[in-house]
């Protein structure tokens, strides 16, 4: 039965239900159990923004508070995954992945391959991503392309609470390493979410809005921004189809290409920096596989090639806005 839930609560519910279903599901992270300033176990902090609040009281043996050492506990989570557990490691911010990259891209991503298919690494590494939180350059990045570049890991970045619950459950049940990225500015966004557990398969884009003039491809926070742009453009008679990729590895290019074959125009919207991004990747594949369908050059709307500014007014300019997306769509329309 559906009721309204925020993305933050959807993450909590997914982990809670999977921990109840399967005792090998564990969670590791900083301040997820105790946390500074909490008076007792029942009021545990639940991580930096309280996502896992309440889970320790329900599943005390499945929640592990870690030292402030991402390289240590991400390595421990990956090792535990190879030995039969299903760990969900929480990094506060994607920006901290740097110190544990060897464990991720050279170990977890390669185990299945290096051990001739005999090793499985069912680990989920969750982290907040994205700008708009006034958290400056070291806590605001959208580093999705770093991970999509690496074969052997799956990359998920949902745009709403319904998808978040289903994709996180799928991530926990998946037998390969999954990088699960949660845009912090979407934590409060709500939609109908069934109370029961459900899994959404990876590699299936969602058509968030149907339209016939322009295809807008995006993910994460850029989906609501693209939908807002589509609302603006509708008043001008431009009918946009908005595709939410949902998972970036694997990526559902079939849905993108089918849409471009109908509309003939493509706008790729990506909050990551422009070089070697999800936007440039989608653009390249469409240019190669569906060139004849295109009626206009492909447009890309991305962050600039700079760090995320701390100045609030500059940070607002940094994030691709509905206005910029609408401008790109108008350009594709020749308007």
């Amino acid at each position: 039965m559906a009721r309204t839930l925020s993305m933050k609560d959807a993450i909590n519910e997914a982990i809670d239900q999977e921990m109840s279903r399967d005792p090998t599901v564990i969670m590791m992270g900083e301040d997820i159990v105790g946390g500074a300033g909490s008076p007792g176990e029942d009021d545990a902090w639940g991580g930096v923004l309280g996502v896992s609040k309440g889970l320790y009281a329900k599943h005390p043996k499945q929640m592990i508070d870690t030292p402030l050492s991402e390289s240590a506990y991400v390595g421990a989570a990956i090792g535990a995954a190879t030995c039969g557990l299903r760990p969900v490691a929480e990094l506060m911010f994607i920006d901290f992945m740097g110190v544990c990259l060897d464990q991720i891209y050279n170990q977890a991503a390669k185990f299945r391959y290096m051990f001739g298919g005999k090793a499985e690494t069912p680990v989920v590494i969750r982290a907040m991503c994205g700008a708009g939180f006034r958290a400056a350059a070291q806590h605001s990045q959208m580093l999705t392309p770093i991970f999509t570049h690496i074969p052997g890991i799956k990359v998920v970045c949902p745009s709403n609470a319904y998808d978040t619950k289903g994709l996180l459950i799928q991530a926990i049940r998946d037998n390969d390493p999954v990088i699960f990225l949660e845009h912090k500015n979407l934590y409060a966004s709500e939609c109908d979410v069934p109370e029961e557990p459900y899994a959404i398969p990876f590699g299936e884009a969602n058509v968030a809005r149907e339209g016939s003039d322009v295809t807008i491809v995006s993910y994460g926070l850029m989906v609501p921004n693209s939908l807002a742009a589509a609302d603006i453009l509708k008043k001008e008679g431009i009918d946009c189809e908005v595709i939410d990729l949902r998972t970036l590895s694997p990526i559902d290019m079939d849905t993108v290409i089918e849409s471009v074959e109908e509309t003939g125009r493509l706008v790729c919207v990506d909050e990551s920096n422009p070089r070697c991004s999800i936007a440039s990747d989608v653009s390249a594949v469409v240019a190669q596989d569906a060139f004849k369908a295109l009626k206009a050059p492909i447009e890309m709307v991305t962050a600039p090639h700079t760090p995320v500014p701390f100045s609030p007014s500059l940070e607002d300019l940094y994030i691709p806005s509905a206005t910029r997306i609408a401008d790109a769509a108008r350009k594709a329309m020749g308007a």
Partner: protein
């Protein structure tokens, strides 16, 4: 203000509808509308349909613009006799209070739940007078299949529509789903609601369940309305059943759903998405496979109740869509002595495609 002014409002189809798009007007200002005339097309996130006029009169103003979205109960048009002046009509439009969506939503309860022996069952209820009507959906459906029927029928009787075990918002933990399990769930719900007797309206597999309930518990059933019902012959479109059960993506599911309608444009993206969301709930896939095995083993219907119903002496009405591509309309005449109505230009989901006619027929069973 003149009491001769009759408003045309955005209809409310089902509990979840908050707003709808006025897709097109079929009438223009100056048209003399007769009740039952098709006056406009409305699209919701569930379905698109033609709105038939509930009242008659001279259409003086089209307030709603085609292509725009309006909340439920918003003023879309004004009918009034010619003697009502334009200024009176303007005054009526100006003083019309537009409903606020959120408040109305909070005031009306959505779905209800009953914890029964079989598990938790979700249902919806509309108050009314007399012997209750219970709507029973088909294979893979839920109580929202009756979104065009519950409100209209509640003008003449209390109405309930349930989600069968394994469906909608009801329990998905059913070990061996058989017709008997479904019948027992229905009877348990009737007991829970203190309903001694009810008129049963069943669609497809729900028709089989309604009929089997009448066979097992004759004194609990006031009448039967069987719509494109299972249990009246061996044939069924096994390609549809197999495809519906196995479909794991929108692309696989959508062509299957098109089999359900004579006008396959009615299959909206939202309809496909809602069904995919249901199918992806834990336990549903295994449940549907078990149910298919129990009911439609080898691509044939394994239970026939036509002969039992013929001698039962419970008033039975059989309704069929003339273009039904799931269960052949030849089954409509399987029950000796039952009244049969075949509705032209409709498919398996006849109650969604021509709700006006289906509602008339259901009401005729109540008296």
């Amino acid at each position: 203000m003149s009491d001769k002014i009759v408003p045309i409002l955005m209809p409310k189809w089902g509990l979840s509808m908050k707003e709808g798009t006025l897709a097109a007007w079929h009438v223009s200002e100056g048209t003399e509308i007769i009740p039952g005339d098709e006056i406009m097309d409305v699209e919701t996130d569930k379905i698109a349909n033609v709105v038939e006029a509930a009242d008659g009169g001279l259409l003086r103003r089209c307030v709603g613009q085609a292509g725009e979205i309006y909340p439920v109960q918003a003023l879309l048009g004004v009918m009034a006799p010619a003697e009502v002046t334009d200024s009176e009509i303007e005054e009526f439009i100006g003083s019309f209070e537009m409903p606020e969506i959120e408040e109305e939503e909070d005031a009306s309860p959505t779905h209800l739940h009953a914890d029964l022996e079989v598990g938790r069952i979700r249902y919806m209820h509309r108050e009314g007078e007399g012997v209750a009507v219970i709507f029973i959906h088909g294979f893979g459906g839920d109580c929202d299949n009756w979104l065009f029927n519950v409100d209209e029928i509640s003008t003449e009787a209390p109405v309930y529509a349930l989600d069968l075990p394994g469906h909608g918002g009801s329990t998905k933990t059913i070990v061996n789903p058989t017709v008997e399990v479904m019948v027992n769930a229905l009877v348990q719900l009737m007991d829970h609601l203190s309903l001694d007797r009810a008129h049963l309206v069943g669609h497809s597999m729900g028709g089989l369940i309604a009929g089997q309930t009448a066979v097992n518990h004759k004194d609990r059933v006031a009448s039967l309305t069987l719509i494109c019902a299972a249990g009246l012959g061996a044939d069924i479109n096994s390609e549809y059943i197999d495809g519906f059960v196995s479909a794991a993506s929108r692309k696989e599911l959508k062509p299957k759903l098109k089999c359900l309608f004579a006008d396959d444009d009615l299959v909206s993206r939202a309809m496909v998405d809602d069904l995919l969301k249901y199918k992806r709930l834990d336990g549903v896939q295994a449940f549907l496979e078990d149910l298919k095995k129990n009911l439609f083993s080898g691509g044939k219907q394994t239970t026939s109740i036509a002969d039992d119903l013929a001698i039962l002496n419970v008033p039975a009405l059989v309704i069929w869509g003339s273009e039904d591509a799931v269960i052949p309309k030849a089954h409509a005449t399987a029950i000796d002595g039952a009244r049969v109505e075949v509705i032209p230009d409709t498919g398996h989901m006849v109650m969604l495609e021509n709700p006006g006619r289906v509602n008339e027929l259901i009401k005729s069973q109540l008296s």
